[in-house]
Symmetry: C2
Subunit: 207 residues, 2 copies
């Protein structure tokens, strides 16, 4: 093969993106329904209406499929979380926006969210995180640091800040998604409840 044939090689038969999307969505559904065990390439191929061999055109192997899915869903979540966000916002406005964005995304994409919650607590997560850890980190630390300088936020170790600022939200959403009430009645999400919780978080974080 010479340079000419390499660079100008004919690009024949494009990958069917529709098919690829169906594979992804089916995989997400199955992983959430069946768990990581219970899920298999053959089942996926069958349910997605695709040959098993086709999956290996899209992905190197099963692990790659799962990890890629994790990376992609993570990026979607992050993008959605940051929608409308700018570092110039006041701390309170920024946090409020992120809570709203996260809640909306999770409640409207419950399959993706459940999948992500699952992979987040699995051995796969190491490989998922390795990819997009940094871009996210940079934005978030900058936001927090500015808020500290402006006297809007207590000076705290980053992990402490993060745990106080977002863990309650995640937990609240998980209650909703799993119907996993501890109290008497099944818990029902509302924007009011979210705001009530956010106010208390802000109370904790303000200097």
């Amino acid at each position: 093969m010479n340079i000419h044939s390499f660079i100008f090689a004919a690009q024949m038969r494009i990958r069917d993106e529709h098919k690829e999307i169906i594979v992804k969505e089916t995989a997400l559904d199955m992983l959430v329904e069946l768990g990581f065990d219970g899920f298999s390439m053959q089942k996926l191929a069958k349910k997605a209406g695709v040959s098993p061999a086709t999956l290996y055109i899209y992905y190197k192997d099963k692990e790659d499929l799962i990890v890629q899915l994790g990376i992609e869903e993570g990026q979607k979540m992050t993008r959605s979380t940051m929608e409308g966000f700018s570092p110039e916002m006041s701390f309170e406005d920024g946090l409020r926006l992120q809570w709203k964005n996260r809640a909306n995304y999770w409640l409207q994409n419950s399959v993706s969210s459940k999948f992500y919650e699952q992979i987040k607590h699995s051995p796969y997560y190491e490989k998922v995180m390795a990819v997009y850890k940094d871009e996210f980190k940079v934005k978030m630390t900058a936001f927090a640091k500015k808020a500290v300088l402006n006297g809007e936020l207590k000076r705290l170790p980053f992990e402490v800040y993060w745990s106080l600022a977002f863990a309650p939200l995640y937990n609240l959403i998980n209650f909703q998604m799993q119907g996993q009430s501890i109290g008497g009645l099944p818990f029902t999400w509302s924007e009011e409840i979210m705001n009530q919780t956010l106010e208390l978080v802000l109370k904790a974080l303000k200097p």
Copy 2:
């Protein structure tokens, strides 16, 4: 078989509890290391030095093994969390005790904790929770209700209270266990950091 032989049947060859314990510990190790996929009955039998058939004396099937393990570890965690606790405690003392107990247990039993975190976000959890949800719920709601009456705690939906009171702790511990720092340096747990976080949680929850 008549009544006599049923009631007074000879009890021959007791189950080897030592063997059962090794199976459990090995299973925990493998589940954490390999994830729910990656784990198999044959691998477990081999590593635990036991015949595959023996596993089916202890457990109905693979799912039963995993679920039973989840139930047992959950009970251990709960028992440990409640050690030294009494409903007569002040809200602040009670919360402080539970944070301390939880942190100690998680950090000293990291395999169990990682396993539990994993099963908690898997489809198995429904079956785990079904068992010991109630006994736990009763204690915790009573504690919170009393605190509200005494004016030590804001009146809140239970899930909001729970998410504020404990989610930050779980998140902080997860940072430590996964070495999953978002900020620059890897996060290192300390009792001081825990207390700092707890103070802010109390600030949020007090009326």
